[in-house]
Symmetry: C2
Subunit: 233 residues, 2 copies
């Protein structure tokens, strides 16, 4: 009997935002795997840390962060191989995913490689975008809203078009694109209707209205939520 | 001391997809409230049922389902009043929300009415769209995708435009709009790249590729996910 491959969403940061199902599976996992970008420690592992069995076997996956579409294929090939070896030995492997396994993130690359040959179970998790909405206490989307999740990598004209034709917007992967995004939002008159959330639900969560970000400062690793309705910030 | 008003996401249907945090709060809640559309029983309450204290006080909110933008203001006024009375007596009230409290749904209307006067805490939950993606084992969004969540209420030309200019699409509130949506997807050549998920993560979950839905049949209360990349259904 080969093991089961689990893709577990562990939520946005607060360990209490893990689901009962993911908690149950993590608590009994013989093997966990997780992405460790650029050799740094893993946020997904830190979130699950309070619930890991003492004798759990760990597979850290050193995913290089790259800008190209080509998503570090060799790293995922090697990771899939390492996971497959445990599955072949009959050990279940729980792959820990920040947020939700299928909402951006690297799990998709392992799913492609392993789901054909191994029993796979996916446990959805709380995403960063609804956690950000909760952090600022405003609806992400309501009623018949169009909601768009946009990557900060889009060029300015496309960003402008998509934001204009939408009721609710979350911009992810802000990073080095912050200046461009701020310019677009100010040009659209939405500078006072945007808020930047860093590390939502974590102890060091930080919430900043866009208009309060000093010129030159660029918040990295953050999500921007834009509200067209309701009160301005 | 007045009580705390909690907005708790209870996830898409499987009670095990409640977060540890929502579970903890529900387990000790003196009062729960929940929407009961058109006098029907409440999905949110059913999801939380295994964890409710025996002596919990219940406030069912009979939200009329209407198509107008005007979201049954009187019903929410009355609900806010009923909740406020408990809060004034020092009893915490946990409002149970299917999915996530701020991702569509009725919690926003109570937040507007109560957050100014009462301490409010929002606990994000697993949304139906990532649960649907998990049900079919395909990424909802990956890498630098644009993800759009579209209401089925949009007219055909707008639906067509938004779907064309997107990488990943979830269509919610399908209901009576199914025929229009199917026509649009077939015209765009995406009929074989769409799948309908009903009651994701529940015991009676149902997954149907769009092209397998018989002519004339209209799946209600469902979400449609569209995949432009990857293998067709």
């Amino acid at each position: 009997m080969t093991g089961t491959f689990y893709g577990l969403g562990v939520g946005p940061g607060d360990p209490e935002l893990i689901t009962l199902k993911a908690w149950r599976i993590i608590s009994h996992a013989p093997v966990i795997a997780y992405p460790a970008a650029n050799g740094n420690d893993s946020l997904a592992r830190r979130i699950a840390a309070p619930f890991l069995p003492e004798d759990v076997i760990e597979v850290a996956i050193p995913v290089p962060m790259r800008r190209e579409r080509e998503p570090a294929q060799e790293a995922y090939d090697a990771a899939a191989q390492a996971i497959a070896e445990h599955l072949d030995q009959g050990r279940d492997v729980a792959f820990l995913c920040e947020g939700d396994p299928l909402f951006y993130g690297s799990f998709a690359y392992l799913l492609t490689r392993l789901a054909k040959d191994y029993v796979t179970q996916i446990v959805p998790g709380v995403t960063s975008i609804t956690a950000c909405a909760a952090a600022i206490g405003r609806p992400l989307a309501a009623h018949n809203d169009i909601l768009k999740v946009l990557p900060g990598t889009l060029d300015a004209s496309r960003l402008k078009q998509e934001i204009t034709q939408s009721d609710a917007i979350a911009i992810m992967k802000v990073g080095q694109h912050f200046d461009k995004i701020r310019t677009v939002l100010n040009e659209l008159g939405l500078g006072e209707r945007a808020v930047i959330i860093e590390k939502a639900t974590r102890d060091d969560e930080k919430i900043t209205p866009l208009c309060d970000v000093p010129e030159g400062e660029r918040p990295y690793f953050s999500t921007i939520l834009i509200y067209k309705g309701g009160e301005a910030w």
